[in-house]
Point group: C2
Chain length 433, copies 2
């Protein structure tokens, strides 16, 4: 690409799978992506566009004419086309929609009318639905005769005259049955129906729980409107888990292809909050200035108490946030989980307190100082365990995402209380100040 | 269950789906799980056993007789049966295997011979493979006539006489074709073959990348030996992402159903390592005892520098670990990513340095102190950005899991260097000591 030999680029890329071409585009530096996309010509297929990372896609769409993008979007299943168009800016969205043929446009506009990250956004409308009275033979003939139907599907949905799903048939069951058998006889009546406004995280949990390959999506009136397949769920689970890791550490979207200004904004906001909590901790230390002046060892040891507490809190927090996200921690076992974490924290606290106390005692040859640090560590780790489980649970009850702000609160508690307990005990025990 | 009315329990549980019964068992306190499992009788089906969390399953298996467990394992697909048996202790494993019928036993022993978390462990052996010359009509007749074949499959694999896969046919393609069409005409030649010893994380990435619903597993000689389906991959992706979150925070397995002693061991090990790094930081502070004695404000402010650096490092670390895990960060864009993180860190560092410097200057009315904290924060955040990307990349190159130990190293650097830079600058600038 650098040397401008675009024919050569085309020749080299031609044998690759779409997903590999997408990888190649992702690995290309941002400023050269547009040129590469143009030089790919017809290799720049709809599948490649669907496959690339959001930020990379923006670069490509900016480089290609709106008509070409619309052409590509028109070839995709509705779910993939929506995924591409929903991230665009309003103005670009309108340009693409205008270029689409009316039928595709109506479908995509309908999808965009559902909330972001809902089942309505991720479902595809292409599906096979048949009436109850059909036999296996009629179904096979129907599929053979109607070449305009979607080519990839894994289940056939059986619907009543109001188009409400009454059962589902895996293709393998149909293929193993004689032609004269009615589909209503081999279908499974119990099926997991996904309401069209369900959050995608909840949809993913259903797929996981019931080991689904595809599931019917129904509207408010219970009518079949779409289907979600496991290959989309695989992406969503990855996305949601990534979100939790990145939110817990305050890294925003955290994509390595994200523009620097976006990364800057997300992260600096978090660090400013962190600066605020650190200043609270500093304010507490400042109250003990006199004690530190008489005994510098306090300043030397105090970061240990805060740091150990912070880390113990993060451990409990990570466990709790994941248990909440995967629906393992619910109303009925909250008290048990809190009690469990307190017991773990007491055990850990006692162990670390003994090690740190012995170490401090031997180094400073001051056993009163050693006792103070041991007690402070035990208290702070216990507090870390309690807040590490209670804060995310509380945020979850208040319908806040526990991954977003828990760690700010937990760190504030373990830092401030760590300093307060340690320095307070030092003064109270007559050690200093 | 508490009141011992086991018939009533049975009646209440009867209408539930297997996955819901599994949830119920998970929510039941550990000591009552065995009793509940026994009281469920035939509702305690193979699917329920496959669905529950590993720790919960141990409680149940301990309560049920080996013959019943073996009976349940025998009903499952090989992948689910292996998942249950692989986690048992050697002795229990032998007891169950002895109760299985010889054919099931051979299959499971074969699966157990592959490494833990490899494709060989998660694949199922039940699949449909047909020769190239078959037509669609012959295939359908073959499926109808051989009722001993597996009932759930999504693709038919076409194999050559050596049983090597030559193509794959989605069932929907077969159902839409006329009886006389040979399967070799509608099959897709390019397919993603999974080597039997591939790590499950790599398998999951393939599924994600190529949006697969099922994929063929081949042995060293290229022969078809099994199939992996997307519903299993959904679990693996969740597992692997959870592992990264929990490892980054040093919380071990981090399952809320894990025995307390296991949680204790995993977490205390991490906190002892953390105690070591905190002591290194304390040792550095101790070298500046004289400076702190002359100016207590240093002790008040120094935790801010370390804390902000630690958090900035964690942000970069989270982004890098996820990019490595999802194969977005590879050899070819490493230098670009490091350079990107350094630029982000410089921008963030400058912002936080100005805010903290202004704050310190106004509160302490000492602008030399303000300059020292500003420069220290800028340096420490830059260092955090650099180490947050470089350390996990380095560990990855050395074939170590970057999620496991990166954060210990990064925190050590940001803590120790934070104190060293801040206190060192204070002395060097003639502010104190």
């Amino acid at each position: 690409v650098d040397e401008g030999d675009l024919d050569e680029v085309y020749r080299l890329v031609e044998p690759l799978h779409e997903a590999d071409i997408a990888d190649l585009l992702e690995l290309t530096p941002s400023e050269r992506r547009g040129l590469l996309a143009i030089s790919l010509g017809d290799l720049m297929s709809a599948e490649v566009l669907a496959e690339v990372n959001d930020y990379v896609r923006e670069d490509i769409i900016d480089a290609l004419p709106a008509s070409q993008v619309a052409g590509l979007a028109g070839q995709l299943d509705t779910d993939d086309a929506v995924a591409i168009i929903e991230d665009m800016e309003e103005e670009d969205q309108q340009a693409i929609l205008a270029e689409l043929d009316p039928e595709d446009r109506a479908v995509i506009e309908d999808a965009l009318s559902y909330p972001d990250e809902s089942a309505g956004r991720i479902m595809q409308r292409e599906l096979v639905a048949v009436p109850e009275h059909m036999t296996v033979g009629q179904l096979i003939d129907y599929l053979r005769d109607h070449q305009e139907l979607t080519t990839e599907f894994w289940e056939v949905f059986v619907v009543d005259p109001q188009h409400k799903p009454v059962g589902t048939c895996k293709l393998s069951w149909i293929m193993r049955s004689q032609r004269k058998v009615p589909v209503s006889e081999i279908m499974k009546h119990e099926q997991t129906l996904i309401p069209v406004d369900m959050d995608q995280e909840e949809v993913a949990l259903r797929f996981q729980k019931y080991a689904l390959i595809s599931a019917a999506v129904v509207d408010g009136a219970g009518r079949l409107v779409g289907v979600i397949t496991a290959d989309d769920i695989v992406h969503i689970i990855q996305e949601e888990a990534d979100e939790d890791i990145l939110r817990l550490s305050g890294a925003g979207e955290g994509d390595i292809n994200e523009p620097i200004s976006d990364s800057y904004k997300a992260r600096v906001r978090w660090l400013i909050a962190n600066l605020g909590t650190a200043m609270v901790a500093s304010f507490i230390i400042a109250q003990f200035g006199a004690a530190i002046e008489t005994m510098v060892a306090l300043a030397v040891l105090m970061p240990i108490v805060a740091s150990i507490g912070g880390n113990a809190g993060t451990q409990t927090l990570a466990v709790t946030v994941r248990a909440l996200a995967t629906n393992q921690l619910t109303q009925s076992n909250t008290m048990r989980s809190i009690w469990r974490e307190i017991r773990v924290a007491l055990l850990i606290g006692a162990t670390i307190a003994v090690i740190a106390g012995l170490g401090a005692g031997l180094i400073f040859e001051n056993w009163r100082l050693a006792s103070v640090i041991a007690v402070a560590i035990l208290c702070n780790i216990s507090l870390a365990g309690l807040s590490g489980v209670a804060i995310p649970v509380l945020l979850d009850r208040l319908d806040q995402d526990p991954a977003v702000s828990s760690s700010i609160f937990v760190t504030m508690i373990t830092d401030s209380m760590g300093f307060l307990i340690f320095l307070g005990l030092a003064v109270f025990s007559g050690l200093a100040g």
